[in-house]
């Protein structure tokens, strides 16, 4: 069921004090969002266990956790399926992310943070500017991710964070795929600046509104790209 290709699973995870189950979750998650375990592919428990150098037990546990996070589907006699994402899935997920992030922006604005709480978010915006200036899209994407997760962090809601990360993982492959197909994201940087400014001023309504528009715009663009290039299952 696998081509036997060697897969480097050393990853960036210090296996120290970590159960095999947790390690399996981390490694499999990384393999999936990096598209090294191809979306749509099926894998036997024993295959994954062999690959990860452990027995089936922790692998089974890991796949159940990953299933709860929407990354795989465990189908009794057909192996563990790496779920793919269609334009319709993107629409669904971005709708949810839009709501969660808009809520996060609103909550962050209501917190009355002091200036030094925004250092990371500001840094992210600056990195985005710099990346854009030298046309480094990878760097831009990393900074963009940082800004968005920082926004979530500033909301102070652990639960929003959990759901957010879950869905960001689900769309990760599609995001990477469109990174070099999309137009230069100048508007994004502008939007982020405006949102952060509103949060800083405690203007929850504006923060919410602008961020919402920002996300809806991104959704529209991404889905159009996926459809234009015929990516029906990423």
């Amino acid at each position: 069921m696998n081509d036997g290709k060697h897969i480097d699973i050393s990853a960036h995870h210090s296996n120290k004090n970590m159960s095999n189950t947790q390690h399996a979750v981390n490694v499999l998650r990384e393999l999936i969002i990096d598209n090294r375990l191809a979306s749509g592919s099926n894998h036997l428990e024993s295959e994954l266990a062999k690959m990860l150098g452990m027995s089936r037990t922790p692998v089974r546990e890991a796949t159940l956790i990953l299933e709860a996070q929407g990354l795989v589907e465990v189908k009794p006699r057909h192996g563990i399926k790496i779920l793919s994402i269609s334009p319709e899935d993107m629409d669904e997920i971005y709708n949810i992310l839009t709501e969660l992030e808009s809520l996060a922006a609103e909550l962050a604005a209501q917190k009355g943070y002091t200036d030094n709480e925004f250092l990371v978010a500001e840094g992210a915006i600056q990195q985005m500017d710099e990346a854009l200036a030298r046309e480094d899209r990878e760097a831009w994407a990393r900074a963009d991710e940082l800004f968005h997760s920082e926004l979530i962090r500033l909301s102070g809601s652990e639960r929003i964070g959990n759901i957010f990360r879950m869905f960001v993982d689900q769309v990760s492959r599609a995001r990477k795929l469109t990174l070099n197909l999309r137009p230069t994201p100048t508007q994004s940087n502008e939007d982020h600046r405006t949102v952060l400014q509103a949060i800083r001023k405690g203007d929850a309504k504006t923060a919410r509104k602008i961020h919402r528009q920002h996300r809806l715009q991104a959704k529209k663009m991404l889905i159009a790209l996926l459809e234009q290039y015929g990516f029906h299952n990423v």
Copy 2:
């Protein structure tokens, strides 16, 4: 770690063709949301396994799934902890439910459903009226739940549904607790009618707005009750 009290786990689940793991998830979930496994209590794997009449393996798998759904916390040497809900948690969860349901209302309105698609939602509203008339709060709560989950169903989004159910489960005990403490929910019935009317007319904006207000109002009332009665951990 348990008082040994007999617990009826026959539940309403036909164990037919269902794995022990799935069965354990269903039974434990029900015991938790019914408060028969007290919030805050800790339980050993072996204790739960004995209670459910199966080995530790499927119980372990079940607890991992329930942990991913936010109902328990698996703490290595302290057992499986049934998570309790504070007023702050309620605030967090209701904020998320508000966004998800408002989104669902908007999406439902955009679907252009025909009249017979609203039969269940209408039935729920009617049941709520009847329950209110005879002051049967249990029946009212059931019908209210039905209306809300029907709204989610009408959104057509499986993912919204999954997250929705997850958080509804998490607040279930608090909800039951406040059911007989809250004022007569006449406004709720009115709101539901208005939202459904907007959805029927395809007025997404209104559906969203009214439902949002409806939920924010409910949140405020519930949290006030919890604090007023000193329920810091439900």
